[in-house]
């Protein structure tokens, strides 16, 4: 604990705080998520710590439940994109030849379409449910992870120890998980933090545009959308979720930076 730099401590503290709040949301929230408990846009008081929202629901409760939705979707999408993207990327790099060409060109094809437009088109056709959101974001993000994983892995697969493993007759699974993955881990971990943040921003954007999480379910982007008119009257309600998104993004980045530093020093500066 002593060796953790102060920036990482701050990052760990806020990340931990948000994740704990997401996990224990029903215990922490003073009111129900969709419960109308007061007047429209009441100011903060001892009864409603952050005031109430555009139809009189407790904002603090909605922030806590909203954080749960946002963080859950972003985490699930990040895990999906990393599993899929890195396995495909390593597979392409280890196989090489036409396998690599086919996968890479297909990924290029998907990447050539701006991901927000792609998502909007898909979501206007498909029902907007949480599993579909996770799947869509995971698949779209996996193309970026694929690029990184493949780029890192082509450098590793030409090393002598991979060549030796091949000559020894190891199968592709061994080469991917035993030879390539341990040596590609540190750039992937750094990318994971970044991808998680992009996922948070992406799901918030979709909800703000009305195509993400559907009401009465709360999520941070959706809370901004519901309360954006209040800004004209000097009501802060729309800004709290924005603060939350910003602090979560920064703190996760601080943690990812620290992990990256630690793992690169473990590998003698190779990153």
């Amino acid at each position: 604990m002593k060796n953790i730099p102060i920036s990482a401590m701050i990052g760990l503290f806020f990340t931990g705080l948000y994740f704990l709040m997401a996990i224990f949301a029903p215990l922490l929230a003073p009111y129900g998520m969709a419960e109308i408990v007061g007047d429209v846009w009441e100011p903060s008081s001892s009864q409603f710590l952050l005031g109430t929202d555009s139809i009189g629901r407790d904002l603090l409760s909605r922030m806590i439940y909203g954080g749960r939705t946002t963080i859950f979707i972003a985490t699930a999408a990040t895990i999906l994109s990393f599993t899929l993207g890195s396995v495909l990327g390593f597979f392409a790099a280890v196989s090489g030849g036409w396998v690599d060409q086919v996968i890479s060109r297909f990924v290029d094809l998907i990447m050539s379409i701006p991901s927000l437009i792609f998502a909007l088109v898909v979501l206007s056709v498909m029902p907007t449910t949480v599993p579909i959101l996770i799947l869509l974001m995971g698949l779209l993000d996996s193309t970026r992870v694929y690029r990184l994983a493949r780029a890192v892995a082509v450098d590793i697969t030409v090393m002598d120890y991979v060549e030796a493993a091949r000559l020894r007759g190891e199968k592709i699974g061994w080469i991917i998980f035993r030879e390539t993955l341990p040596n590609a881990l540190s750039p992937l971990v750094a990318e994971m933090g970044l991808r998680f943040i992009f996922a948070v921003l992406f799901v918030s954007t979709l909800s703000f545009l009305g195509l993400g999480v559907q009401p009465p379910q709360a999520d941070w982007g959706g809370i901004v959308k519901e309360n954006k008119e209040g800004i004209n009257y000097g009501i802060q309600a729309a800004l709290y979720p924005a603060y939350a998104i910003a602090t979560l993004c920064i703190s996760i980045n601080l943690v990812a930076d620290w992990i990256l530093n630690r793992t690169t020093s473990l590998k003698g500066g190779r990153g």
Partner: protein, 239 residues
Amino acid sequence: MTEPLLKVRGLKIGATAYPPGERPVAIKIVHGVDFDLEAGKVLGLIGESGAGKSTIGLSAMAYGRGGVEITGGEVWVNGRDILKENLRSLRRLRGAEVTYVSQSAAASFNPAKKIMDQVTEAAIYQNKFSKSEAEERAVELFRKLGLPDPENIGNRYPHQVSGGQLQRCMTALALCPEPDLVVFDEPTTALDVTTQIDVLAAIKEAIAATALKPCISRMTSPWSHRSATTSWCCNKAKW
């Protein structure tokens, strides 16, 4: 006269070159090389850069690196023409009868695995020794090669030892499975002069020490291309 350990006859090696804007052309790298190597002797291979020294060395394992192909000739190891063998029996040859010390130790060790695991891997994989026997052997080799703290150096990762030490670890890796033939591909290239002498002395000592063991009748044979290095450690040099 007894059969030599390694007998190369009319070895031809080719590759495909891709000149920009032209059709790929087949080029010849080695135009028919003959030599013999007796057990217990050291043969040096000398030539300018790109002459095909490493390529000939790797052919002793019936292996052509990245697009290089052995197009003709015979390579006899322990009385068998290994160019005629299939992949499965070659796997038994590589790492058991013939081992290889590559040019750059830093690129050859897997940075994510401990040195001990990598040094003993071939010996265990080829069923030459059990895990504990192989580890004992590795510690003994580390000691002979003059590595500091031989009992524990195997628990380090490759980046936690110096370049010269890693080079010596690789020599231990090649000697661990008790091979009949070791191909040393410039084992001192990346090192400064004083470390070179250390490494060569350590290799020479290790060869001598291993030869004294009665269970090994045949011996190891380094290849190197620097003439200075070569004259210092080889019984026989081939230009």
